[in-house]
Amino acid sequence: MAKVFIDDIEYEVPDGKNMLEVCLSLGFDLTYFCWHPALHSIGACRQCGVINYKDENDKRGRITMACMLPASNGTRISIEAKAAHDFRAGNIESLMLNHPHDCPVCDEGGECHLQDMTLMSGHNYRRYRFKKRTHTNQYLGPFLNHEMNRCIQCYRCVRFYKDYAGGKDLDVFAAHDDIYFGRSEDGVLENEFSGNLVEVCPTGVFTDKTLKQHYTRKWDLTSAPSVCHGCSLGCNILASQRYGTIRRILTRYNGDVNGYFLCDRGRFGYEYTNSKKRIIKALKRVSGTYQPIENGNAFEEVKALMGEGKKVIGIGSPRASLESNFLLKELVGENNFYGGISNTEGNLIKQVIDILKKGKVKTPSLAEAKGYDAVFIVGEDVTNTAPMLALSLRQAAKNKPNEEAFAIRIPLWNDVAIREIVQERTGPFFIATVHHTKLDEISSGSFYGHPDNIARLGHAVAQKINNNLPSVPDADRESASLSSSIAEALLAAKKPLIVSGTSLFSKNVIEAAANVAYALKEQGKDVGLIYTVPEANSVGMTLLSENFVDDAIARVEKERADVLLILENDLYQRIGKKDSEAILKRCNQVVAFENLENETTNSCDYLFPAGTFAESTGTIVNNEGRAQRFYQVHIPRNEVRSSWKWLDILRQDLQTAEAKDFDAIVDELIQKNPELQKIKETAPTADFRIGTQKIPRSPHRFSGRTSMIANINVSEPKPPVDNDSPMSFTMEGYHGIQPSPDTAFYWSPAWNSVQAINKYQIEVGGPLHDGNPGKRLFEPDENRQAKYFNDIPSSFHPSNDELLVLPLYHIYGSEELTALSHAVKERIPQAYIALNENEARRKGLNAEGGKVEFYYQDKKWELSLKIDNSLPDGIAGLPKGLNETSGIGYPFRTKINS
């Protein structure tokens, strides 16, 4: 601890901080622009000027930038001195010389850090009366709007985009009064994390283009704390709506998960919730077409179908909440419930869960992953399957070289000095994948091969760490030497991290990764092991599932079922046409609970309108086993409800049925599944109050409440009540610091921008007051003996006439729902089949873009050729989940023709 003096009052503060962090953590309102808790200090904007005194006798002091001043013992500053005030007001006046003052037409207005800082600095009147310099703005793609005239040159954008996220195509040009942040020419910003510029930029230079399509001021939004459903990582989001449509997604700070950032799929992939294809009322198929049906009648008819002695089966969903999956299981009975994924995928996820539960190695959170100093990725293209993990790993790559700076006592916050020392160096980072992936640009060694060969490399690394393990037979010299250098680097590291996942559908890959981690653990290393899984609630659903869809198919083939209930699951996407038809044809009646029309809903008998994350409350479990609560943003005026609400009524006697609230369902869930006990602790129960107050979903400046629906009804309706959470749908309620899982927006007096988050953290950049939300369901058992996996696969031999087809992933397109959003749609690549040049030539294909035919499940598919020379011989890659390739199960073998 260090003793510092701020305006002559003594404070004890943690060591190794700078004075700006310290002042903000203590609750002082000190102005700043270029500093960001995740990007640290560069002293560029000069906005955090304070007076620094030598000692108590120094009455004059000197102006110093707080962000560059170490908070060491005896540091003495004044924020309040007149000279400091004048300096900050003068500085902001200069920064704003060319600022257009177009707040009323600016998307940032009302939540602008520049507005907040200007007021806070005391600069009120503009004196500059000359012509302002202006810039031409650029087209930056479907996600971001560019308005360079508003720029105040803080450099945060390039520091985030280039230094933090590894982007290449945004830069700063020219000097002094002519600085320009942009691309070298118009074009799409390519980095997967570009959307964070919306929040990183302190003013309106980079704003959300999707929000612009249906713009609403921050204060007019009704928001809910939610969890991204775009991949398995469970990043925390704030989803906001007005007039019943979702308007935008912002980062919800969670110091244990995503911190300050989100990927672009998560941020801009929400528009499917507003799609015209939403199912908004209960439907019944009558002579081939869907007709609306009264809820009561739908319940009665479906209930009748499921009557005594009927054979009913249910298929769950990895994108539906634990509660919905649980109630489906309750409704159809344990033995009739099937997890809504293929057995292959289900078994892989079961194995991952088994390792999480029983392995002895820690699975770090997304935030903890940033703290490891050597990385070995075993068979996962994380940038495309779990994008935010790639962002964490990019930070981990900096740890080793950073040590050099720490050795000469440069603190982490001094970003300029650190970068001067580190330059572009990165720490040990090894990648084994099927083909070239984006993280290869920071890798110290990359290996491309068949999943079995990736697994063999992993086993070889494990064997070199622990010589008692069986050695890999017939290892070639190249991979032997690579495995030696990987083993050496991992052993030399303090905290090695092994990353793997299910995306290659390979048990061998998962086992090899575990072996490497176990071997390192035995050597006393503080090793981490992360697995990614396919979808938002893959882990949660699998925890509730004994059997999966292939089992269901086998069962209905043996004996027809009377009723099939499908929960939020487009079977055609997940298990393909052949299997979907196999099951749908063998069930007399099909009832689906679904968000949007899709191929599966085309052949159902009853449809219930199920809520997406926007209209549902529930719990999902991410890839590390962290259970997190998401809340419905609004109660839509149509019939859309959380699936578990429909299921809850259906399982009761309709005469006496009463809607249960969320907590009752959770209680029942944990009573039947004691291992999920902790999901109750993920958020306060619905009866929680602060004093007598609920927690508001809208800020206190919310406007238009009495007139919003005056075109429909002039009298203001009673606001809807949320029985499932302690939150109100209005601005009434407690406006101080709320429980962290229930914070719907960030606001504090004088802090209207997202940076109000400072006030919600115990220490700036640290955990939230009352802890980061989410509960981990399982922790590793340190005392267990590691049980190694001993099946080493043999090396893959390409066949002469057949190719093995593996999935390649795309951040935009490989996820079913986000791919339906307008902005994301623009970024989805053209479908292709990828081969290396050799293989293409051997098949008589030469021109990239030429048509290639192949057969999958007896159906002919035609795609254009893409040459990817990193792909191994004998292997073809198909983009997973695009319209043209949806429903394909991997891996499969096929012959191809030109």
Partner: protein, 166 residues
């Protein structure tokens, strides 16, 4: 396609060799100077792209650097470039009048070149010669203690030497 001569390419190699291996980006400034000299006194996008390819850089990295420094010309310039300092000390000594006067004499505004291709007028930030304010840089030298008369002389001299050299 522009390309350095064999001789100049050797010079580029020598410049690159000054820096540790893999740090060829450090050679960017001197190579840009050389390119400016060789390819018409300014850096066209084509020239910058060529430099990027020589040093194995992304073009955006070259643009970033080239646009930062005032000694790289991003538009064609005249034979004589007047870069008049407009930072505090020079301004207090009347450099704004000098800039205005040069502009009037030559019929151009800062950033422009005379139609005969002889003169370009630019403004510059502090050139580190505050003791001799107001001042400007012309080619590799400084012209100091500028007055209207001195500016007239400089312009005349330039015209004379241009006439002789043509």
């Amino acid at each position: 396609m522009i390309k350095f001569s064999e001789e100049k390419l050797k010079q580029v190699e020598k410049i690159i060799a000054r820096y540790p291996e893999g740090k060829q980006k450090s050679a960017l400034l001197p190579v840009l100077h050389l390119a400016q000299q060789e390819f018409g006194g300014w850096l066209s996008p084509e020239t910058m792209d060529y430099v990027a390819s020589l040093l194995g850089l992304l073009t955006i990295e070259v643009y970033e650097v080239a646009t930062f420094y005032s000694m790289y010309n991003l538009k064609p310039v005249g034979k004589y470039v007047f870069e008049v300092c407009q930072t505090g000390p020079c301004i207090t000594r009347g450099s704004d009048d000098i800039i205005k006067y040069i502009g009037e004499r030559l019929g151009i505004k800062p950033g422009e070149t005379t139609p005969d291709g002889l003169f370009t007028l630019k403004t510059a930030e502090c050139l580190g010669a505050c003791g001799y304010a107001p001042m400007m840089q012309m080619g590799k030298g400084f012209k100091e203690h500028l007055t209207k008369e001195k500016v007239d002389e400089i312009i005349e001299e330039c015209r004379r030497s241009a006439a002789i050299n043509n």
